[in-house]
Structure formats: structure tokens, C-alpha cells
Amino acid sequence: MADAHRTVDAVWRIESARIVATLAKMTNDVVLAEDLAQEAVVDALRQWPETGIPQNPGAWLTAVAKRKAIDTWRRRERLDERYQAIAHDLASSPGADPAAWEPIDDDVLRLVFIACHPVIAREAQVALTLRLIGGLSTEEIARLFLLPVATIQQRIVRAKKTLTAAKVPFEAPDPSEWRARLGSVLGVIYLTFTEGYAATSGEQWMRTDLANEALRLGRVLAGLAPREPEVHALVALMELQASRFGARVRQDGTPVLLADQDRGRWDRAQIGRGQAALARADALGRGRGSYALQAAIAECHATAPSIDDTDWARIVLLYEALGRIAPNPVVELNRAVAVSMATGPASALLIVDGLADAGALRGSSLLPSVRGELLARLGRAEEARSEFVTAAALTGNERERGVLLAKAAAL
């Protein structure tokens, strides 16, 4: 039954993080917890078409998974204290009693930290986070990233094996590691978002479904860790950038750059949500981190009536601050673009040439594309054309290549 499958998928999407977190807390084993939960889903697919969806599907799936845990240990003849604890738990609250199922946010947060654990490779962290926290199937993740299912499958299997091999306990990081580990979680979510926002591969310029998944994960995390300003700031940044989705691409799929976007198509409600999230970050009174500074830059754009009426001086200032706390050639390149708008292309070209001389961003289309833009504005057409052609050869995105070649041809 295709319908039942889609319904189970929908329930899983809503409930999976809490189910797996609850099971992981009981078994102290995230990998086992995920396997058990998946087996419970298989049972649901078999039974729900006949019995209907239970009153509390999350509790149903959790109870079934717990029974499977006991079965597993019986088979292994490991009747240890974990078995005792779960057997007791099941006996005292039989079946799918909703009251028996009170998962704690802290457990879900632990699960987030483990999905983004430093022992796992970054791309596997992304897949595991979408799977464990986002409740997406391997097939859905593969579709979002335009990758073969086997590739995603392999990343997840390998990540789970690594977690087991490293004997990662189901615990939140120590206070001393908290900041770095939270940074890793935020990095995973933002990487997912940016891959959707400006796809580095494939034929589409944007993959909004993927970006929206990242946004959902960000909102979930803000609910789990409301005292962390950078979490709210990341949500703000993603909301503000996503507010431009409707204007970033033409009907035929070609991208529209910021300067040419119809600002009437920006999602005002989404801009409002982004500003509210940034205000929440600021209200915690701990200053602006790198995501908050980026969100503040995005806010400058979102509230500007036109490209010319943008507060470029403020944007330059924010990029300078960002470059100091999180030095990065892409930030430096963006600062150059802002400087070119605030004070003209000549001073911006000095920054870009500095980056080029240092060998930064080698192999990326970003630097030649910005350099081409600045040279064109300075009337150095021949050099500009050469930069655009270089950038076109370097980009992996078909749509972007088209735009760059058109710029070269127009000079």
C-alpha cells in the first residue's frame, strides 16, 4: 500500500528523533537504537494498513522497538541489567500507553551531538543528521543530494561502524568541549543549507527542498538549545537567505543575481522570522558570533529597498568583524564585493589581488568571477573576459557556467 508507506514516512519524519533518542538512552547505543527503530518501522508498514494508525504512533513504535531490544538480547543470551531495566519499564507500562512515553529534549540533543560526532567524516555527519534527527530515509537523502542511494547507504553504514568502533557513549559533550562540538553541529546544518542554497553540482542552481530540511533542523536545534545565541543566529541566517528563494531563479532555471532580483518576490514573512531569530540571539547578551554577523549582513540586504540603497558601509564593517573572528578567504572575497559597492572597484580589486597572490581559493570559480566583475567595472574588458572564462571552466554548476559565459560574451 503506497498510501500507508507515505503515512509511515510522515510519522517517522515527525517522531524519529525522539524515538531513537529514547531507545539510545535505554540501550546506551545509538547504532542499536537506530536499527531497532527501523525494525519497528517495518512492523508498522505491515500492521498499520490493517489496524489504522495508533493513537500515539511514536509511543507505538518505541514500545515495539523496546520489545525487539529484549528479543535481541535474549538471542544473544545477554540478560544483563539493561535487559532488566527495559523489561521492568515495559512491564510497568504495557503497550502504547502515551503516558509511558515522555522523551526528554536533552536526549534528542545528545543524539544531535552524536550524529555530528568528530570521529565521523563531515559528509557522513550530514547524512546521519538528516537520517537520525530529520527522520529522512536513505532514499530521500540520496534524492536531495543527487547521489546514488548506495553512496548515502555506505556513508551511513560506515558512520555507524565508526561510532561503534570508537565506543561513543550516549552523552552530551563535556563543558570544555561544548563550544567546539556545538560548532560542529551548526556547521553540519549550515553545510546542508548552503548545498541547497547554491548547489555546487547538478543542473539546478538551488535545491530548495534540501535548504528547507536544513532550516527545519535549525529550528529543531533552537528548540533544544534555546540558550545558545549562535543557534538562533544560524536560524536567522538561513531564514534571511531563504527569503530570497523566490527571486533567485527565473522560470527557465537560470539564476538571478542579487543586484537583478525582483525584491518584491522576497518572502517578507520569512525576513520577519529571520529578524526575530537574530533578535533572540542578540537578546541573550553574549555578543555576535560568526553566524550572527553573517545574519546581520543578510539582514542589511533583506531590508534594503534596492542594491544602491543598501548600507554597504555597514556591510563592510560587519565583514571586517567576521573576518577577524573567523578568517576565511570567502569572507574576504565578500568583503571585497562590499567594498566595491561602498567605495568603488579599485580598492576592492586590491583585496582580491591580495587573495590571488596568496594562492587563496585556488580551483574555485568564486575568485575569478568576482575579479572579472571588478575588472569589467574598471573598463578593463579584455582581462575581465579572461577571468569570466576561467571561472566558467572551474564551476561544477551548469547554470552558473551559463551566466559566466554570457557575461564574458557581453563584454
Binding site: 519524519r13 528547507n212 532550516l215 533542523l217 529550528r219 518584491g264 514573512a269
Partner: protein, 141 residues
């Protein structure tokens, strides 16, 4: 996909509702809203005032349109509140809508919010283009 969950209640249901402890209503709705928020799917939501003194209807049957107090009388299923959610599938919207703590006589009308792709073939429509120009000229860009 975005969906709007539109809450509609019959007059009878609204009267029944008044007998229920208001604290209980607040608690249940609060829990529902919190679940939506924590799942990262809630975009917006509000309730609409009952007080008819503040409400009115503009009827475009006549020209110029007629403004009357209300809505009164024949509106058996009054629009009384809404949620805006962002989900991945219709089934997910069904699942969330079904969890709303409403009682007999109440309904949720669930409507998908239109996207630009719904207007695909009209993208070059001269009226839509004119609207863009108007937006630009009036400084709304």
C-alpha cells in the same frame, strides 16, 4: 510545501467550547503549538477575535461594495484561527492537522499555499509584469 490549517467551528461547538475550562484549552493548544515549534515546522499562527464589534464583512456583490458588521447569522462555520506550517508532504500535513486538539463540531480546512510554480505559465503575463513595475515605482522593491 506550505500548508495553512484553517480552523472552523460551528456555533454549537463554540458554545460547547465556552463550557470547557479555559485553562485546559490554553494548556492543550499550548502543547500543540510547542510540538509544532519544536519540530521546526511552524511558520505562523493566530486566533481570530470573536467580538463582532471589531469584525466586519465587505460584500462585493454591489458596486461600491457594502460593508456590514459581522459575520452574523448564517455563518455556521466561522473561520476562527489558523496555522501556517512547512512540511515535506501532504501526508505530513495530514498527520500534524490530525493532532490538533479540537473537539466535535470543529474542523480544520487544510489548504496548500500556492508557489510560483503554480503560476508557471503566467510568469510572462503582462498584468503580473505590470505589477512588478508598479512595485518598483512605488518603492516596494
Amino acid at each position: 510545501m506550505k500548508y495553512m490549517l484553517i480552523m472552523r467551528s460551528t456555533d454549537a461547538a463554540r458554545q460547547d467550547y465556552e463550557k470547557v475550562d479555559f485553562n485546559e484549552i490554553i494548556e492543550k493548544m499550548g502543547a500543540y503549538n510547542e510540538a509544532l515549534l519544536k519540530a521546526g515546522v511552524m511558520l505562523a499562527g493566530d486566533g481570530l477575535a470573536d467580538s463582532m464589534a471589531d469584525n466586519f464583512v465587505v460584500d462585493f456583490t454591489a458596486d461600491p461594495p457594502i460593508v456590514t458588521d459581522g459575520p452574523y447569522g448564517e455563518t455556521h462555520e466561522l473561520f476562527s484561527g489558523f496555522w501556517m506550517i512547512q512540511v515535506a508532504s501532504k501526508e505530513e500535513a495530514v498527520e500534524w492537522a490530525s493532532r490538533c486538539p479540537l473537539g466535535p463540531g470543529s474542523k480544520l480546512e487544510v489548504r496548500r499555499v500556492t508557489e510560483m510554480s503554480d503560476f508557471g505559465e503566467f510568469a510572462d503575463n503582462p498584468v503580473l509584469k505590470q505589477q512588478e513595475t508598479w512595485r518598483a515605482e512605488s518603492g516596494q522593491v
